[in-house]
């Protein structure tokens, strides 16, 4: 299967349940969100509205982060098409960070894994999740690959209360997301960059 996601902007209410679900699933350090919903206010009073843009790593087909990586730490998982980082190879040059148009690469500074309560040690939750991270390397959304391989949807999809996020197999022409892409004229974010994202938006 090829990992793919369709996000319905009409359904998103900006509740950030996806952001919290991701944090709960992976225990990302303070200030780091692998997925989040951006908020913008448009218009002039009294004709104003808020718009929301759920955003995560797009696991691009032509990932610029992977191309610029000098160590081969950034790679695409052949089985799922998910772009991953091998923390044991990353040397922390942050070339991927500046190459990603979607700003979805995060660098773990030295000292970033000190926890939410400085001087108080790690909470049991942090103590369990932080060993998965390595300071001095770049980290990113892993597409919940282990959940997906186990037959589950990514955490952000499962926890979306409005079903704004749909997950599926891009390689299957009959999958729900392929049909949504076809029927509702889905668009890719910043398609002009030529990165071929695997996340699509419909509205």
């Amino acid at each position: 299967m090829i990992w793919g996601m369709v996000i319905d902007l009409k359904l998103c209410i900006g509740c950030q349940a996806c952001s919290l679900a991701c944090k709960t699933e992976y225990g990302t350090p303070r200030g780091m969100y692998w997925t989040k919903t951006l908020i913008d206010e448009v218009g002039v009073f009294p004709n104003v509205t808020r718009v929301y843009l759920p955003q995560l790593c797009n696991h691009c087909e032509e990932a610029p982060c992977e191309k610029t990586c000098p160590t081969g730490a950034s790679y695409t998982d052949e089985a799922t098409g998910v772009v991953l980082v091998d923390y044991t190879k990353c040397m922390g040059c942050r070339a991927c960070y500046v190459a990603c148009p979607y700003q979805n690469r995060h660098y773990l500074n030295r000292g970033a894994l000190k926890g939410y309560f400085p001087g108080k040690g790690l909470t049991p939750f942090e103590a369990q999740s932080y060993p998965h991270f390595t300071e001095g390397t770049v980290t990113k959304c892993v597409g919940c690959i282990e959940r997906v391989m186990g037959g589950l949807d990514p955490a952000c999809v499962t926890n979306c209360p409005t079903y704004a996020r749909k997950f599926g197999d891009l390689s299957d022409p009959n999958s729900e997301i392929r049909q949504l892409i076809r029927v509702r004229n889905a668009v890719q974010p910043m398609a002009e960059k030529g990165t071929e994202p695997k996340v699509y938006y419909i509205s």
Binding site: Q16, G31, K36, T37, L38, I39, D40, V42, G43, V44, P46, N47, V48, T49, V51, L53, Q55, P64, K67, T68, C69, P70, T71, G72, A73, K89, C90, M91, G92, C93, R94, A95, Y97, V98, A99, C100, P101, Y102, Q103, Y107, L108, R110, T134, E135, G136, T137, V138, P189, M190, K193, G194, T195
Partner: protein, 320 residues
């Protein structure tokens, strides 16, 4: 036209708002590493074009360039890395990564440059004739120096995310600055005690003219570069706005333009005599200007906003 359509988000205050996010990871250390790399490689490359009659001068200029690359450039890169002792892994992707290619070029310059210095020592101090092997090594070192000069500009150009960098003028501009630094340092070294007299008056005049030509070329390129920014996507306009008016105008107008270009162009004309004091002043000003432009390129780089201004009639919402 320079304007803001969405807000600039300060690096130390990240929010979930849509805006122009500055790149926050390539800061002081990478600026210093790029600066030293371009300057050192420029100095080394220029030394290869110094006439044979001034071989002693050529040796010391090449040594200076080699030391800048082998020492500070490599050191700044090393301490910048999150996992410095994994630096060797950076050699594994020459097929797609310009950082890897830059690594190879830097190592090649360190190696071939050292061999060139060793083999050129006899030519410079004992009057020996250059050997074919020595000349081959010199050519290899020169090619490596050229790649070191240009690769970080290409690394920046290859970032599709930051429109300020995603501009083909960057490698040309940085190469031109590297050459200007090389010529300036050559003129400065030529005035040092013990090396004065290596250049004849005509040669000194010629090299000064070359430097002025490079200053004019850089000035034109900066004007064209800033103009092209104002005709590009909004993030490029935002970068131009940050550089010229909003966040870094002092660095640009004073550091890059006044000191880094106008002063070094006018000083030799106003002072009239080529002296160590004058060339030292010009060299310091040139280095300040060179550093300031690189600083601006790195600091004023903002990502394109993830959400463009929606093209919707918001009046529809009030009717709904």
């Amino acid at each position: 036209m320079l304007h803001r359509d969405v807000k600039y988000i300060e690096a130390d205050n990240p929010t979930f708002e849509v805006g122009y996010n500055p790149q926050t990871e390539w800061k002081w250390l990478i600026t210093l590493a790029f600066f030293c790399g371009e300057l050192g490689a420029g100095v080394f490359l220029v030394s290869l074009f110094i006439p044979a009659a001034a071989a002693k001068l050529a040796f010391f200029v090449a040594l200076l360039g080699w030391l800048i690359v082998a020492g500070p450039k490599n050191l700044f890169h090393f301490i910048y890395l999150g996992k410095p002792w994994r630096f060797w892994r950076g050699l594994s992707r020459p097929g797609s990564s310009w950082i890897t290619r830059g690594f190879y070029a830097t190592f090649a310059l360190c190696g071939f440059g050292f061999l060139h210095l060793v083999m050129f020592y006899d030519v410079a101090f004992n009057g020996a004739t250059p050997t074919p092997m020595g000349q081959a090594i010199m050519i290899l070192a020169g090619i490596s120096a050229f790649v070191v000069m240009i690769y970080d500009g290409i690394v920046m150009t290859y970032s599709p995310s930051i429109p300020l960098w995603n501009n083909s003028l960057i490698p040309v501009l940085r190469t031109s600055y590297a050459l200007m630094g090389g010529v300036t340092m050559t003129l400065l070294v030529s005035m040092l005690p013990g090396l004065a007299g290596q250049f004849t008056e005509e040669q000194l005049h010629l090299w000064s003219q070359i430097e002025r030509g490079l200053v004019v070329a850089n000035m034109l390129m900066i004007v064209i570069y800033v103009m092209t920014l104002t005709y590009q996507v909004t993030a490029a306009k935002e970068s131009a706005y940050l550089i010229i008016r909003d966040k870094y105008p002092a660095v640009f107008w004073f550091g890059v333009v006044a000191i880094g270009l106008i002063a070094i162009f006018l000083l030799p004309i106003l002072v009239q005599t080529e002296s160590l004091g004058l060339l030292l002043t010009v060299a310091v000003f040139e280095l300040i200007g060179d550093f300031c432009i690189l600083f601006l390129l790195l600091r004023a780089g903002v990502f394109s906003p993830l959400m463009p201004r929606p093209n919707i009639d918001v009046a529809l919402f009030s009717k709904a």
